[in-house]
């Protein structure tokens, strides 16, 4: 104690080299360990969802509510972004193709890109931003206000009631939204190619018909279904992990969108590698006009 009665601060212990090294190793190790911990928890969450998926009772009303939320709720933004993506893609592609006198191929180029990659990826990003954040926020709020615990105490399994319908709804709706995105994108490209640049509509559509194949669309829809499952599982998981009031819920929503978006961009490459040998086991260049 000092003469004024205030406590004297304890002297700071001298940092020994061993202690410094240990702290550095601990700091380096915390990142990967945290990642492994989170990955493990997410994997268990996915397994738990699979466990409850086939069990009765089926929550039809919840499923329809989330089909509406994910599907109808994201429809406008998907139509809008799809349309403008197709327009800008068509516009830029035309600039390049014109150099080779291949303006007529802008239709198939756009449709192939949209149906196989841009459609599912951009639709996934839109759904992650809109529905994924909504899922994480709603479930996070339920977590911090103990509504999820309350549901469990009423002998209703929260995974079955809250997570399974969301995952099913997003998995079913994403292929549909991907198809709508692709359709709107192609329409946007058509307006640019035919309406603005004056390509003959018959040639534009005929070239597209020749160069595309149903398999191209299947790949996009399968990817869409995977992305739907990814978004809903990650967002639900983040919501279930939320803690600490409004701030915690906000952080959960941010993490849900970031992780979903990253997983879509990584997943699209992984899925392309996996699906290509399965779906595109042969190349359809023979269908192109000689």
């Amino acid at each position: 104690m000092t003469s004024s009665g205030l406590p004297v601060p304890a002297p700071t212990p001298r940092a020994s080299p061993l202690r410094v090294v240990r702290e550095i190793i601990t700091a380096i190790g915390q990142g990967p360990l945290g990642f492994i911990d989170q990955a493990g928890r997410l994997a268990l969450f996915c397994l738990s969802t699979l466990f409850w998926l086939p069990r009765r009772p089926f929550r039809w009303s919840q499923l329809f509510r989330h089909l509406r939320d994910v599907g109808f709720g994201s429809l406008f933004i998907v139509v809008l972004t799809g349309f403008f993506t197709g327009m800008v893609f068509g516009f830029q592609t035309l600039q390049g193709f014109r150099r080779f006198g291949a303006e007529a191929l802008v239709g198939p180029a756009t449709l192939l890109t949209l149906s196989r990659e841009l459609g599912p990826v951009l639709t996934g990003l839109m759904v992650a931003g809109r529905s994924g954040s909504g899922m994480a926020t709603e479930l996070g709020t339920m977590r911090v206000t103990e509504q999820i615990d309350a549901m469990a105490t009423l002998a209703v399994e929260p995974m079955q009631y809250l997570v399974v319908p969301r995952v099913l709804a997003a998995t079913f709706m994403m292929p549909l939204l991907t198809a709508i995105f692709t359709g709107c994108g192609f329409l946007g490209c058509y307006l640019i190619g035919v309406g603005r640049e004056g390509i003959d509509p018959g040639v534009f559509l005929y070239e597209t018909w020749l160069a595309t194949d149903p398999d191209d669309f299947y790949e996009g829809w399968i990817k869409g279904a995977f992305f739907g499952a990814q978004i809903s599982l990650i967002s639900s998981y983040e919501g279930f992990q939320a803690s600490g009031g409004a701030r915690g819920v906000g952080e959960a929503a941010t993490r849900a969108v970031v992780l979903s978006s990253v997983s879509i961009l990584v997943g699209t490459y992984v899925l392309a590698e996996m699906l290509d040998p399965l779906i595109h086991s042969y190349i359809h260049f023979d269908a192109l006009p000689k």
Binding site: E138, T145, Q147, A150, T153, L154, A155, E157
Partner: protein, 271 residues
């Protein structure tokens, strides 16, 4: 009421006339740690059927964590939680779902589902577990629960929990918790934020549930007057341990510094 011989000082027991059946709740050596902090440090507790146990203690002392173990929302690091003769501490999710049918729980802030109306909140457990109740029968049952807790008709319609006062929300939560007529009801601070008249009604309701339905109640409370009124047994939890067990006399006679301060503060405010 008699108290059984205690194996350890922390062990508490409340007897009932139906002693041949296993106790409603039995906890043995319960330990729980969150990170570096040990929240429960070996709790031993027996709650007999049809009795009311009140858990007192300061904030952050482990009372709510103890209650969440009783209903299987948390799993212990060590020890056992035995409900109606079944050890629930390591049960699967499916088994826990079955055991939880025996419980009702009232949360501190009500924990009403904010996406549902008040009527739907009370109807929720009935719709899930009483498939025989449909249409008018379901509506009649829900209305009778609203009346039981003196909830006026105007909050039953398409109004949501966010439109209710704190007291009304708590009463809707009580109605939902007892809708399935559970054997055990857990109350996490049921009277906090209620006016004295409603507090008294809640106390009477807990006593009525014991008297007429034989319901076992475990109540976390900061309301000492309520605790002394309704409890068959009281435990005082301090830093994850039961430091005093008994009734009003034992609580007020305790030499534990925190318990002494706790009751002295209460007494000074109630003179």
């Amino acid at each position: 009421m008699t108290t059984q011989p205690m194996a350890k000082p922390e062990t508490t027991a409340v007897t009932s006339s139906r002693a041949e059946r296993p106790p409603a709740i039995e906890i043995r050596g319960l330990r729980k740690r969150f990170g570096d902090r040990e929240v429960l440090k070996g709790i031993d507790l027996v709650v007999q059927r049809g009795s009311i146990l009140v858990i007192l203690g300061g904030s952050g002392m482990g009372k709510s964590v103890l209650m969440k173990h009783i209903i299987g929302l948390l799993q212990p690091d060590a020890g056992q939680v035995i409900v109606d003769g079944e050890d629930i501490s390591h049960m699967s999710a499916l088994e826990l779902k079955r055991v939880r049918r025996k419980f009702g729980m009232v949360f501190q802030q009500g924990a009403l589902f904010d996406s549902m109306t008040n009527w739907e909140n009370v109807a929720f457990p009935l719709r899930e577990h009483r498939k025989d109740l449909k249409g008018q029968a379901l509506d009649d049952k829900v209305r009778s629960l609203f009346e039981l807790f003196s909830l006026k008709a105007d909050i039953q319609g398409p109004r949501f929990p966010s439109e209710l006062s704190g007291g009304q929300r708590k009463r809707v939560a009580l109605a939902r918790a007892v809708a399935l007529e559970p054997e055990i009801v857990l109350y996490d601070e049921p009277t906090t934020g209620l006016d004295p008249i409603t507090t008294d009604q809640v106390d009477e309701m807990i006593l009525d549930a014991k008297k007429h339905l034989g319901i076992t109640s475990v109540v976390i409370s900061h309301d000492i007057a309520s605790a002394f009124k309704i409890a068959d047994h009281i435990i005082f939890v301090y830093e994850g341990e039961i430091v005093v067990a008994g009734l009003k006399k034992e609580m007020l006679a305790s030499e534990h510094p925190f318990v002494k301060q706790f009751f002295a503060t209460w007494a000074s405010k109630n003179i």
